[in-house]
Symmetry: C2
Subunit: 290 residues, 2 copies
Protein backbone atom coordinates (compact mmCIF):
# COMPACT_ATOMS: atom_id res chain seq x y z
CA UNK A 1 0.00 0.00 0.00
CA UNK A 2 1.15 3.57 -0.66
CA UNK A 3 1.49 5.42 2.62
CA UNK A 4 2.49 9.00 3.48
CA UNK A 5 4.25 9.63 6.77
CA UNK A 6 4.61 13.27 7.84
CA UNK A 7 6.60 14.18 10.94
CA UNK A 8 9.86 12.32 11.46
CA UNK A 9 10.85 13.09 15.03
CA UNK A 10 11.84 10.67 17.78
CA UNK A 11 8.49 8.87 17.38
CA UNK A 12 7.65 9.28 13.68
CA UNK A 13 10.99 8.08 12.32
CA UNK A 14 10.89 4.54 13.76
CA UNK A 15 7.14 4.25 13.04
CA UNK A 16 7.67 5.10 9.34
CA UNK A 17 10.57 2.64 9.29
CA UNK A 18 8.35 -0.17 10.66
CA UNK A 19 5.74 0.49 7.97
CA UNK A 20 8.44 0.38 5.28
CA UNK A 21 9.82 -2.89 6.68
CA UNK A 22 6.30 -4.37 6.64
CA UNK A 23 6.41 -4.08 2.86
CA UNK A 24 4.60 -0.81 2.20
CA UNK A 25 5.65 2.04 -0.11
CA UNK A 26 6.23 4.91 2.34
CA UNK A 27 6.43 8.53 1.16
CA UNK A 28 8.00 10.56 3.96
CA UNK A 29 8.18 14.25 4.73
CA UNK A 30 9.99 15.92 7.63
CA UNK A 31 10.65 19.59 8.25
CA UNK A 32 14.37 18.94 8.55
CA UNK A 33 15.60 17.28 5.32
CA UNK A 34 18.24 15.28 7.24
CA UNK A 35 15.43 13.53 9.19
CA UNK A 36 14.53 11.76 5.92
CA UNK A 37 18.02 10.41 5.15
CA UNK A 38 17.91 7.10 7.09
CA UNK A 39 14.40 6.42 5.79
CA UNK A 40 15.45 7.01 2.18
CA UNK A 41 18.36 4.64 2.74
CA UNK A 42 15.80 2.05 3.90
CA UNK A 43 13.78 2.50 0.72
CA UNK A 44 11.27 5.27 1.54
CA UNK A 45 10.65 8.14 -0.88
CA UNK A 46 11.57 11.64 0.34
CA UNK A 47 8.97 14.35 -0.39
CA UNK A 48 9.47 18.13 -0.35
CA UNK A 49 6.15 18.80 1.32
CA UNK A 50 3.18 17.22 3.08
CA UNK A 51 1.21 17.98 -0.09
CA UNK A 52 3.54 15.93 -2.28
CA UNK A 53 3.62 13.01 0.18
CA UNK A 54 -0.19 13.01 0.54
CA UNK A 55 -0.68 13.02 -3.24
CA UNK A 56 1.04 9.61 -3.51
CA UNK A 57 -0.86 7.83 -0.74
CA UNK A 58 -4.07 6.13 0.27
CA UNK A 59 -3.30 6.50 3.98
CA UNK A 60 -1.58 9.64 5.31
CA UNK A 61 -0.02 9.49 8.78
CA UNK A 62 0.85 12.65 10.71
CA UNK A 63 3.02 12.59 13.83
CA UNK A 64 3.93 16.12 14.93
CA UNK A 65 4.12 18.02 18.22
CA UNK A 66 1.00 20.03 18.94
CA UNK A 67 -2.39 21.23 17.68
CA UNK A 68 -1.05 24.15 15.58
CA UNK A 69 1.50 21.83 13.93
CA UNK A 70 -1.24 19.42 12.87
CA UNK A 71 -3.34 22.31 11.55
CA UNK A 72 -0.35 23.62 9.56
CA UNK A 73 0.55 20.20 8.14
CA UNK A 74 -3.05 19.47 7.12
CA UNK A 75 -4.38 22.85 5.97
CA UNK A 76 -1.38 25.20 5.62
CA UNK A 77 0.61 26.08 2.50
CA UNK A 78 1.76 22.86 0.78
CA UNK A 79 -0.35 20.97 3.31
CA UNK A 80 -2.05 17.59 3.04
CA UNK A 81 -5.40 18.88 1.75
CA UNK A 82 -3.73 20.37 -1.35
CA UNK A 83 -2.45 16.91 -2.37
CA UNK A 84 -4.69 14.25 -0.84
CA UNK A 85 -7.12 12.44 -3.14
CA UNK A 86 -10.79 12.11 -2.16
CA UNK A 87 -11.22 8.71 -0.48
CA UNK A 88 -7.84 8.87 1.22
CA UNK A 89 -7.52 8.69 5.02
CA UNK A 90 -5.61 11.00 7.36
CA UNK A 91 -4.42 9.21 10.53
CA UNK A 92 -3.21 11.77 13.06
CA UNK A 93 -1.06 10.06 15.68
CA UNK A 94 0.02 13.30 17.36
CA UNK A 95 -1.33 14.16 20.82
CA UNK A 96 -3.50 17.25 20.37
CA UNK A 97 -6.76 18.87 21.44
CA UNK A 98 -9.89 16.67 21.18
CA UNK A 99 -12.06 19.64 20.11
CA UNK A 100 -9.59 20.73 17.41
CA UNK A 101 -9.49 17.11 16.24
CA UNK A 102 -13.27 17.09 15.76
CA UNK A 103 -12.99 20.32 13.75
CA UNK A 104 -10.18 18.91 11.57
CA UNK A 105 -12.20 15.73 10.92
CA UNK A 106 -15.16 17.82 9.80
CA UNK A 107 -13.07 20.03 7.50
CA UNK A 108 -11.38 16.99 5.94
CA UNK A 109 -14.71 15.20 5.59
CA UNK A 110 -16.07 18.16 3.59
CA UNK A 111 -13.27 17.49 1.09
CA UNK A 112 -14.00 13.75 0.93
CA UNK A 113 -11.03 12.83 3.12
CA UNK A 114 -11.62 10.53 6.11
CA UNK A 115 -9.79 10.99 9.42
CA UNK A 116 -8.81 8.99 12.46
CA UNK A 117 -7.22 10.40 15.58
CA UNK A 118 -4.81 7.77 16.89
CA UNK A 119 -2.49 9.08 19.60
CA UNK A 120 -0.11 6.61 21.19
CA UNK A 121 1.47 5.71 24.51
CA UNK A 122 4.71 3.80 24.95
CA UNK A 123 7.43 6.26 24.03
CA UNK A 124 10.30 5.89 21.59
CA UNK A 125 10.97 2.34 22.80
CA UNK A 126 7.40 1.36 21.89
CA UNK A 127 7.75 3.13 18.52
CA UNK A 128 10.98 1.27 17.72
CA UNK A 129 9.69 -2.13 18.83
CA UNK A 130 6.23 -1.72 17.31
CA UNK A 131 4.61 -2.15 20.73
CA UNK A 132 2.79 1.18 21.12
CA UNK A 133 -0.62 1.47 22.72
CA UNK A 134 -2.86 3.16 20.14
CA UNK A 135 -6.09 4.93 21.12
CA UNK A 136 -8.29 5.50 18.09
CA UNK A 137 -11.21 7.83 17.39
CA UNK A 138 -13.26 7.90 14.17
CA UNK A 139 -15.68 5.84 12.07
CA UNK A 140 -15.60 2.04 12.56
CA UNK A 141 -15.21 1.27 8.84
CA UNK A 142 -12.19 3.58 8.58
CA UNK A 143 -10.70 2.01 11.71
CA UNK A 144 -11.09 -1.43 10.11
CA UNK A 145 -9.35 -0.20 6.96
CA UNK A 146 -6.31 1.14 8.88
CA UNK A 147 -6.20 -1.67 11.48
CA UNK A 148 -3.54 -3.76 9.61
CA UNK A 149 -1.20 -0.75 9.67
CA UNK A 150 -1.88 -0.10 13.37
CA UNK A 151 -0.96 -3.76 13.97
CA UNK A 152 2.48 -3.01 12.50
CA UNK A 153 2.97 -0.04 14.87
CA UNK A 154 1.50 -1.25 18.13
CA UNK A 155 0.11 -3.99 20.36
CA UNK A 156 -2.78 -2.65 22.44
CA UNK A 157 -5.03 -1.04 19.81
CA UNK A 158 -8.43 0.18 21.03
CA UNK A 159 -11.13 1.87 18.94
CA UNK A 160 -12.43 4.16 21.68
CA UNK A 161 -15.22 5.99 19.85
CA UNK A 162 -16.01 8.70 17.31
CA UNK A 163 -13.73 11.58 16.21
CA UNK A 164 -11.70 12.94 19.13
CA UNK A 165 -12.23 9.88 21.33
CA UNK A 166 -8.66 8.72 20.79
CA UNK A 167 -7.41 12.13 21.94
CA UNK A 168 -9.72 12.01 24.96
CA UNK A 169 -8.34 8.58 25.92
CA UNK A 170 -4.78 9.87 25.53
CA UNK A 171 -5.66 12.89 27.69
CA UNK A 172 -6.99 10.46 30.33
CA UNK A 173 -3.74 8.51 30.07
CA UNK A 174 -1.72 11.64 30.75
CA UNK A 175 -3.91 12.55 33.75
CA UNK A 176 -3.39 9.12 35.30
CA UNK A 177 0.33 9.02 34.57
CA UNK A 178 0.97 12.50 36.02
CA UNK A 179 -1.01 11.90 39.22
CA UNK A 180 0.47 8.43 39.74
CA UNK A 181 3.95 9.96 39.42
CA UNK A 182 2.91 12.53 42.06
CA UNK A 183 1.63 9.67 44.26
CA UNK A 184 4.86 7.67 44.01
CA UNK A 185 7.01 10.77 44.51
CA UNK A 186 5.17 11.75 47.69
CA UNK A 187 5.22 8.18 49.04
CA UNK A 188 8.94 7.60 48.44
CA UNK A 189 9.76 11.01 49.92
CA UNK A 190 7.65 10.19 52.97
CA UNK A 191 9.59 6.93 53.37
CA UNK A 192 12.99 8.63 53.06
CA UNK A 193 12.09 11.34 55.59
CA UNK A 194 11.06 8.57 57.99
CA UNK A 195 14.51 6.97 57.57
CA UNK A 196 13.03 4.01 55.73
CA UNK A 197 14.67 2.67 52.56
CA UNK A 198 12.45 3.81 49.66
CA UNK A 199 13.69 0.90 47.51
CA UNK A 200 12.27 -1.56 50.05
CA UNK A 201 9.02 0.39 50.20
CA UNK A 202 8.75 0.25 46.41
CA UNK A 203 9.34 -3.52 46.52
CA UNK A 204 6.72 -4.00 49.25
CA UNK A 205 4.14 -1.86 47.44
CA UNK A 206 4.57 -3.64 44.11
CA UNK A 207 2.90 -6.70 45.66
CA UNK A 208 -0.39 -4.99 46.56
CA UNK A 209 -3.03 -2.50 45.49
CA UNK A 210 -0.45 0.28 45.09
CA UNK A 211 1.15 -1.64 42.20
CA UNK A 212 1.41 0.23 38.89
CA UNK A 213 3.65 0.52 35.86
CA UNK A 214 4.58 3.99 37.18
CA UNK A 215 5.67 2.63 40.59
CA UNK A 216 7.72 0.02 38.77
CA UNK A 217 9.38 2.13 36.06
CA UNK A 218 9.22 5.75 37.25
CA UNK A 219 9.65 4.72 40.89
CA UNK A 220 12.96 3.13 39.89
CA UNK A 221 13.96 6.33 38.04
CA UNK A 222 13.31 8.28 41.24
CA UNK A 223 15.39 5.84 43.32
CA UNK A 224 18.22 6.14 40.78
CA UNK A 225 17.81 9.93 40.63
CA UNK A 226 17.97 9.41 36.85
CA UNK A 227 15.56 11.52 34.85
CA UNK A 228 16.80 10.79 31.33
CA UNK A 229 13.65 10.68 29.20
CA UNK A 230 11.53 8.60 28.77
CA UNK A 231 8.81 11.11 28.23
CA UNK A 232 9.83 14.75 28.45
CA UNK A 233 8.34 17.06 31.07
CA UNK A 234 7.63 19.78 28.50
CA UNK A 235 5.51 17.36 26.45
CA UNK A 236 3.67 16.12 29.53
CA UNK A 237 3.04 19.76 30.44
CA UNK A 238 1.72 20.42 26.93
CA UNK A 239 -0.61 17.42 27.22
CA UNK A 240 -2.01 18.45 30.62
CA UNK A 241 -2.52 21.93 29.19
CA UNK A 242 -4.80 20.32 26.59
CA UNK A 243 -6.64 18.51 29.41
CA UNK A 244 -7.06 21.59 31.57
CA UNK A 245 -8.12 23.73 28.61
CA UNK A 246 -10.75 21.12 27.78
CA UNK A 247 -11.84 21.01 31.45
CA UNK A 248 -12.11 24.82 31.36
CA UNK A 249 -14.38 24.59 28.33
CA UNK A 250 -16.47 21.84 29.95
CA UNK A 251 -16.72 23.50 33.37
CA UNK A 252 -15.13 20.47 34.98
CA UNK A 253 -13.02 20.60 38.15
CA UNK A 254 -9.93 18.36 38.05
CA UNK A 255 -8.11 19.39 41.23
CA UNK A 256 -5.53 16.58 41.24
CA UNK A 257 -4.63 17.16 37.61
CA UNK A 258 -4.31 20.88 38.28
CA UNK A 259 -1.93 20.16 41.14
CA UNK A 260 0.24 17.86 39.03
CA UNK A 261 0.29 20.57 36.35
CA UNK A 262 1.75 23.03 38.87
CA UNK A 263 4.62 20.62 39.50
CA UNK A 264 5.26 20.27 35.77
CA UNK A 265 5.16 24.07 35.49
CA UNK A 266 7.74 24.26 38.30
CA UNK A 267 10.06 21.94 36.37
CA UNK A 268 9.76 24.12 33.28
CA UNK A 269 10.53 27.16 35.44
CA UNK A 270 13.65 25.41 36.74
CA UNK A 271 14.76 24.78 33.15
CA UNK A 272 14.15 21.05 33.53
CA UNK A 273 11.62 20.59 30.71
CA UNK A 274 13.88 18.12 28.91
CA UNK A 275 13.91 15.72 31.88
CA UNK A 276 11.56 12.76 32.17
CA UNK A 277 8.36 13.82 33.91
CA UNK A 278 9.21 11.46 36.80
CA UNK A 279 11.24 14.55 37.81
CA UNK A 280 8.06 15.70 39.59
CA UNK A 281 9.98 13.95 42.39
CA UNK A 282 12.51 16.81 42.32
CA UNK A 283 9.74 19.35 42.92
CA UNK A 284 8.25 17.33 45.78
CA UNK A 285 11.70 17.10 47.38
CA UNK A 286 12.88 20.69 47.01
CA UNK A 287 9.53 22.09 48.14
CA UNK A 288 10.48 20.87 51.64
CA UNK A 289 14.15 21.77 51.24
CA UNK A 290 15.34 18.26 50.41
Amino acid sequence: MHIAFIGLGIMGRPMAMNLQRAGHRVHVHGRRPESMTPLVQAGCTACDSAQVAAAQAEIIFTMVSDTPDVEQVLFGANGVVHGAKPGSVVVDMSTISPSATRRFAEDLGARGIAMLDAPVSGGDVGAINGTLSIMVGGKPEIFEKVQPLFAVLGKNIVHVGDHGAGQVAKACNQIVVALTIEAVAEALTFARQNDVDPAKVRAALLGGFAASRILEVHGQRMLDDNYQPGFKTRLHQKDLNIVLQSAFELGLALPGTALAMQHLNALLGADEGELDSAAIMKVVQRMSGL
Copy 2:
Protein backbone atom coordinates in the same frame (compact mmCIF):
# COMPACT_ATOMS: atom_id res chain seq x y z
CA MET B 1 3.23 -23.27 68.34
CA HIS B 2 1.07 -21.42 70.89
CA ILE B 3 -0.19 -18.20 69.38
CA ALA B 4 -2.39 -15.41 70.72
CA PHE B 5 -4.60 -13.50 68.30
CA ILE B 6 -6.23 -10.33 69.61
CA GLY B 7 -8.71 -8.42 67.49
CA LEU B 8 -11.23 -10.50 65.55
CA GLY B 9 -12.77 -8.08 63.08
CA ILE B 10 -13.20 -8.48 59.34
CA MET B 11 -9.42 -8.96 58.99
CA GLY B 12 -8.39 -10.63 62.24
CA ARG B 13 -10.98 -13.42 62.19
CA PRO B 14 -9.89 -15.09 58.92
CA MET B 15 -6.22 -14.53 59.80
CA ALA B 16 -6.60 -16.34 63.14
CA MET B 17 -8.53 -19.07 61.32
CA ASN B 18 -5.68 -19.58 58.84
CA LEU B 19 -3.15 -19.90 61.67
CA GLN B 20 -5.37 -22.47 63.39
CA ARG B 21 -5.74 -24.44 60.14
CA ALA B 22 -1.97 -24.42 59.72
CA GLY B 23 -1.77 -26.56 62.86
CA HIS B 24 -1.05 -23.99 65.57
CA ARG B 25 -2.72 -23.64 68.96
CA VAL B 26 -4.46 -20.28 68.71
CA HIS B 27 -5.71 -18.41 71.79
CA VAL B 28 -8.12 -15.74 70.64
CA HIS B 29 -9.57 -12.62 72.21
CA GLY B 30 -12.11 -10.23 70.72
CA ARG B 31 -14.01 -7.39 72.37
CA ARG B 32 -17.31 -8.88 71.26
CA PRO B 33 -17.60 -12.44 72.68
CA GLU B 34 -19.61 -13.59 69.62
CA SER B 35 -16.63 -12.78 67.38
CA MET B 36 -14.85 -15.74 69.00
CA THR B 37 -17.61 -18.31 68.36
CA PRO B 38 -16.63 -19.50 64.85
CA LEU B 39 -13.00 -19.67 65.90
CA VAL B 40 -13.78 -21.76 68.97
CA GLN B 41 -15.81 -24.07 66.71
CA ALA B 42 -12.68 -24.43 64.58
CA GLY B 43 -10.59 -25.41 67.61
CA CYS B 44 -9.23 -22.10 68.93
CA THR B 45 -9.32 -21.26 72.64
CA ALA B 46 -11.44 -18.27 73.66
CA CYS B 47 -9.81 -15.92 76.19
CA ASP B 48 -11.51 -13.30 78.40
CA SER B 49 -8.78 -10.75 77.89
CA ALA B 50 -5.67 -9.89 75.92
CA GLN B 51 -3.73 -10.62 79.11
CA VAL B 52 -5.03 -14.19 79.31
CA ALA B 53 -4.41 -14.86 75.61
CA ALA B 54 -0.88 -13.42 75.79
CA ALA B 55 -0.02 -15.54 78.84
CA GLN B 56 -0.49 -18.73 76.78
CA ALA B 57 1.58 -17.74 73.76
CA GLU B 58 5.06 -17.34 72.32
CA ILE B 59 3.82 -15.07 69.53
CA ILE B 60 1.05 -12.53 70.17
CA PHE B 61 -0.73 -11.02 67.16
CA THR B 62 -2.77 -7.84 67.45
CA MET B 63 -5.14 -6.68 64.69
CA VAL B 64 -7.23 -3.73 65.85
CA SER B 65 -8.39 -0.41 64.38
CA ASP B 66 -6.18 2.48 65.41
CA THR B 67 -3.26 3.68 67.53
CA PRO B 68 -5.24 4.11 70.79
CA ASP B 69 -6.71 0.61 70.37
CA VAL B 70 -3.24 -0.92 70.09
CA GLU B 71 -2.09 1.06 73.13
CA GLN B 72 -5.11 -0.15 75.11
CA VAL B 73 -4.69 -3.79 74.07
CA LEU B 74 -0.95 -3.80 74.86
CA PHE B 75 -0.67 -1.62 77.96
CA GLY B 76 -4.23 -1.08 79.29
CA ALA B 77 -6.08 -2.97 82.03
CA ASN B 78 -5.93 -6.71 81.29
CA GLY B 79 -3.57 -5.86 78.44
CA VAL B 80 -0.88 -7.96 76.81
CA VAL B 81 2.00 -6.74 79.00
CA HIS B 82 0.27 -8.08 82.12
CA GLY B 83 0.30 -11.61 80.71
CA ALA B 84 3.12 -11.92 78.18
CA LYS B 85 6.21 -13.85 79.17
CA PRO B 86 9.67 -12.33 78.66
CA GLY B 87 11.01 -13.66 75.37
CA SER B 88 7.61 -13.56 73.69
CA VAL B 89 6.97 -11.49 70.55
CA VAL B 90 4.18 -9.00 69.87
CA VAL B 91 3.32 -8.75 66.16
CA ASP B 92 1.07 -5.75 65.57
CA MET B 93 -0.66 -6.10 62.20
CA SER B 94 -2.90 -3.05 62.71
CA THR B 95 -2.28 0.10 60.67
CA ILE B 96 -1.20 2.77 63.15
CA SER B 97 1.23 5.65 63.67
CA PRO B 98 4.92 4.88 62.93
CA SER B 99 6.11 7.08 65.81
CA ALA B 100 3.71 5.45 68.30
CA THR B 101 4.93 2.08 67.04
CA ARG B 102 8.53 2.98 67.85
CA ARG B 103 7.43 4.02 71.34
CA PHE B 104 5.48 0.78 71.90
CA ALA B 105 8.47 -1.28 70.71
CA GLU B 106 10.69 0.49 73.21
CA ASP B 107 8.25 0.04 76.12
CA LEU B 108 7.81 -3.65 75.31
CA GLY B 109 11.56 -4.09 74.91
CA ALA B 110 12.09 -2.73 78.42
CA ARG B 111 9.91 -5.64 79.64
CA GLY B 112 11.85 -8.24 77.62
CA ILE B 113 9.12 -8.51 74.97
CA ALA B 114 10.12 -8.17 71.32
CA MET B 115 7.92 -6.42 68.75
CA LEU B 116 7.32 -6.35 65.03
CA ASP B 117 5.04 -3.93 63.22
CA ALA B 118 3.49 -5.83 60.32
CA PRO B 119 0.59 -3.98 58.71
CA VAL B 120 -1.02 -5.58 55.69
CA SER B 121 -2.55 -4.72 52.35
CA GLY B 122 -5.02 -6.87 50.43
CA GLY B 123 -8.28 -6.49 52.32
CA ASP B 124 -10.61 -9.17 53.67
CA VAL B 125 -10.20 -11.22 50.48
CA GLY B 126 -6.43 -11.35 51.05
CA ALA B 127 -6.99 -12.21 54.71
CA ILE B 128 -9.34 -15.09 53.84
CA ASN B 129 -7.14 -16.48 51.07
CA GLY B 130 -3.84 -15.99 52.93
CA THR B 131 -2.57 -13.72 50.17
CA LEU B 132 -1.96 -10.50 52.10
CA SER B 133 0.99 -8.22 51.43
CA ILE B 134 2.82 -7.84 54.75
CA MET B 135 5.16 -4.92 55.43
CA VAL B 136 7.37 -5.63 58.43
CA GLY B 137 9.43 -3.43 60.74
CA GLY B 138 11.68 -4.67 63.55
CA LYS B 139 14.82 -6.67 64.25
CA PRO B 140 15.93 -9.17 61.58
CA GLU B 141 16.22 -12.12 63.99
CA ILE B 142 12.66 -11.55 65.23
CA PHE B 143 11.44 -11.28 61.64
CA GLU B 144 13.10 -14.64 60.89
CA LYS B 145 11.38 -16.20 63.88
CA VAL B 146 7.89 -15.04 62.81
CA GLN B 147 8.43 -15.55 59.05
CA PRO B 148 6.79 -19.04 58.95
CA LEU B 149 3.61 -17.56 60.44
CA PHE B 150 3.66 -14.64 57.99
CA ALA B 151 3.91 -17.21 55.21
CA VAL B 152 0.58 -18.66 56.40
CA LEU B 153 -1.08 -15.23 56.26
CA GLY B 154 0.36 -13.65 53.14
CA LYS B 155 2.29 -13.85 49.92
CA ASN B 156 4.39 -10.71 49.42
CA ILE B 157 6.25 -10.40 52.73
CA VAL B 158 8.91 -7.69 52.92
CA HIS B 159 11.12 -6.85 55.90
CA VAL B 160 11.30 -3.12 55.26
CA GLY B 161 13.53 -2.01 58.15
CA ASP B 162 13.66 -1.33 61.89
CA HIS B 163 10.70 -0.61 64.22
CA GLY B 164 8.04 1.49 62.51
CA ALA B 165 9.31 0.77 58.98
CA GLY B 166 6.38 -1.55 58.29
CA GLN B 167 3.98 1.21 59.30
CA VAL B 168 5.86 3.70 57.12
CA ALA B 169 5.57 1.36 54.13
CA LYS B 170 1.86 0.90 54.81
CA ALA B 171 1.46 4.68 55.03
CA CYS B 172 3.20 4.95 51.64
CA ASN B 173 0.81 2.32 50.30
CA GLN B 174 -2.19 4.36 51.44
CA ILE B 175 -0.76 7.54 49.85
CA VAL B 176 -0.32 5.81 46.50
CA VAL B 177 -3.71 4.08 46.60
CA ALA B 178 -5.59 7.29 47.48
CA LEU B 179 -3.89 9.41 44.81
CA THR B 180 -4.22 6.72 42.16
CA ILE B 181 -7.95 6.51 42.93
CA GLU B 182 -8.09 10.31 42.52
CA ALA B 183 -6.22 9.98 39.19
CA VAL B 184 -8.56 7.31 37.84
CA ALA B 185 -11.66 9.19 39.07
CA GLU B 186 -10.59 12.41 37.34
CA ALA B 187 -9.64 10.61 34.12
CA LEU B 188 -12.88 8.62 33.83
CA THR B 189 -14.92 11.73 34.62
CA PHE B 190 -13.01 13.65 31.95
CA ALA B 191 -13.83 10.89 29.45
CA ARG B 192 -17.53 10.84 30.34
CA GLN B 193 -17.86 14.62 30.09
CA ASN B 194 -16.27 14.40 26.64
CA ASP B 195 -18.95 11.88 25.61
CA VAL B 196 -16.39 9.07 25.43
CA ASP B 197 -17.15 5.66 26.96
CA PRO B 198 -15.10 5.46 30.19
CA ALA B 199 -15.08 1.64 29.99
CA LYS B 200 -13.24 1.83 26.66
CA VAL B 201 -10.84 4.39 28.08
CA ARG B 202 -10.10 2.09 31.02
CA ALA B 203 -9.44 -0.79 28.59
CA ALA B 204 -7.15 1.36 26.43
CA LEU B 205 -5.21 2.67 29.44
CA LEU B 206 -4.66 -0.78 30.96
CA GLY B 207 -2.27 -1.55 28.08
CA GLY B 208 0.16 1.32 28.76
CA PHE B 209 1.95 3.33 31.41
CA ALA B 210 -1.33 4.28 33.10
CA ALA B 211 -1.89 0.63 34.06
CA SER B 212 -2.37 -0.08 37.76
CA ARG B 213 -4.23 -2.41 40.10
CA ILE B 214 -6.37 0.60 41.02
CA LEU B 215 -7.33 1.32 37.40
CA GLU B 216 -8.20 -2.34 37.04
CA VAL B 217 -10.14 -2.97 40.26
CA HIS B 218 -11.30 0.44 41.51
CA GLY B 219 -11.78 1.74 37.97
CA GLN B 220 -14.26 -1.08 37.44
CA ARG B 221 -16.02 -0.21 40.72
CA MET B 222 -16.40 3.37 39.44
CA LEU B 223 -17.80 2.18 36.09
CA ASP B 224 -20.27 -0.03 37.95
CA ASP B 225 -21.08 2.76 40.42
CA ASN B 226 -20.67 0.05 43.05
CA TYR B 227 -18.85 1.17 46.20
CA GLN B 228 -19.39 -1.89 48.38
CA PRO B 229 -16.16 -2.23 50.37
CA GLY B 230 -13.44 -3.39 49.69
CA PHE B 231 -11.64 -0.93 51.93
CA LYS B 232 -13.79 1.52 53.82
CA THR B 233 -13.44 5.25 53.31
CA ARG B 234 -13.34 5.92 57.07
CA LEU B 235 -10.33 3.60 57.46
CA HIS B 236 -8.55 5.15 54.49
CA GLN B 237 -9.24 8.56 56.02
CA LYS B 238 -7.82 7.35 59.35
CA ASP B 239 -4.69 6.09 57.56
CA LEU B 240 -4.09 9.34 55.67
CA ASN B 241 -4.59 11.18 58.95
CA ILE B 242 -1.64 9.17 60.28
CA VAL B 243 0.38 10.15 57.18
CA LEU B 244 -0.46 13.84 57.38
CA GLN B 245 0.17 13.94 61.13
CA SER B 246 3.59 12.40 60.53
CA ALA B 247 4.23 14.88 57.67
CA PHE B 248 3.27 17.68 60.08
CA GLU B 249 5.81 16.41 62.61
CA LEU B 250 8.49 16.07 59.89
CA GLY B 251 7.81 19.43 58.21
CA LEU B 252 7.11 17.67 54.94
CA ALA B 253 4.72 18.99 52.26
CA LEU B 254 2.56 16.30 50.65
CA PRO B 255 0.14 18.39 48.56
CA GLY B 256 -1.36 15.52 46.56
CA THR B 257 -1.99 13.47 49.68
CA ALA B 258 -3.57 16.48 51.36
CA LEU B 259 -5.90 16.91 48.39
CA ALA B 260 -6.96 13.26 48.42
CA MET B 261 -7.60 13.61 52.17
CA GLN B 262 -10.04 16.45 51.51
CA HIS B 263 -12.02 14.16 49.23
CA LEU B 264 -12.10 11.44 51.89
CA ASN B 265 -13.20 14.07 54.42
CA ALA B 266 -15.99 15.07 52.03
CA LEU B 267 -17.21 11.46 51.88
CA LEU B 268 -17.29 11.28 55.68
CA GLY B 269 -19.22 14.56 55.71
CA ALA B 270 -21.73 13.07 53.29
CA ASP B 271 -22.17 10.08 55.61
CA GLU B 272 -20.43 7.78 53.14
CA GLY B 273 -17.61 6.57 55.36
CA GLU B 274 -18.73 2.95 55.05
CA LEU B 275 -18.32 2.98 51.25
CA ASP B 276 -15.19 1.75 49.49
CA SER B 277 -12.72 4.60 49.12
CA ALA B 278 -13.08 4.35 45.32
CA ALA B 279 -16.10 6.55 46.16
CA ILE B 280 -13.68 9.48 45.81
CA MET B 281 -15.23 9.28 42.32
CA LYS B 282 -18.52 10.51 43.81
CA VAL B 283 -16.80 13.61 45.18
CA VAL B 284 -15.07 14.34 41.87
CA GLN B 285 -18.42 14.04 40.09
CA ARG B 286 -20.64 16.04 42.40
CA MET B 287 -18.08 18.83 42.74
CA SER B 288 -18.95 19.73 39.14
CA GLY B 289 -22.66 18.99 39.58
CA LEU B 290 -22.55 15.53 37.96
